[in-house]
Amino acid sequence: MDISITVIVINLFVLLSLAISLFKSKEKTILSLKNALKSLVGIMPYVIIIVLGIGLIQGFLSREIISGFLGEGSGFSGVFLAGLLGAILYIPAIVSFPLTASLIENGASIMVAAAFIITLTMVGLVTLPLEIKELGKKFAILRNLFSFIIALIIAIIIGVFLG
């Protein structure tokens, strides 16, 4: 397992902020740590459910199965299916690019590949419960819905230019 630069930067930044806060006021720092612990305990069930869900999805759907499903789809229904799969699956971007490249190698159109990558990053159905909890039902559903529609439009544009 490799630790990404983002993780290091965020943790260093938080440590620095914590040090400054501690220097300025001990009480406020303790209060904020208490709040942090409370929200961590509150969010933990969601996190573990998501972790287990992702483990199951990635364990059952191998690369070959995923690319097999998407390779057969063509036209708008293929784009829609790819977009839907991208919305449901949770795959880190770093894994999704080689996966999508293998999709194209296996005969998927550029439009299908683009729809998959875009909804993968813009729409998160697995993480929807968490988003609803943090940002509210209305925000989460509207954001995901419009992201999905616009993702398909972007995919079609990319397909028209590169297809």
Binding site: V7, P45, V47, G55
Partner: protein, 72 residues
């Protein structure tokens, strides 16, 4: 508090389903566990930091300041 208990109850149900699935499909067991553990560590490295940052943010920065910079 009630909500918290309900959420942890949901969690135990999901864990139970997870374990049952692992027993039904032993051939997928390894990759499922590996993916889950990897993703858990990814979250564990970043989540506490984000929570502390949110805690500091709530204590030090008043709602008015936020509204001034990010509000309507």
């Amino acid at each position: 508090m009630k909500k918290l208990i309900r959420n942890y109850l949901c969690l135990s149900i999901v864990i139970a389903i997870f374990i049952v699935l692992l027993f039904i499909f032993p051939q997928n067991k390894e990759s499922i566990i590996e993916n889950s553990v990897n993703y858990f560590f990814e979250m564990a490295l970043i989540l506490p930091a984000v929570m502390i940052l949110m805690g500091l943010f709530n204590v030090w920065i008043s709602e008015k300041t936020v509204a001034n910079y990010l509000g309507k």
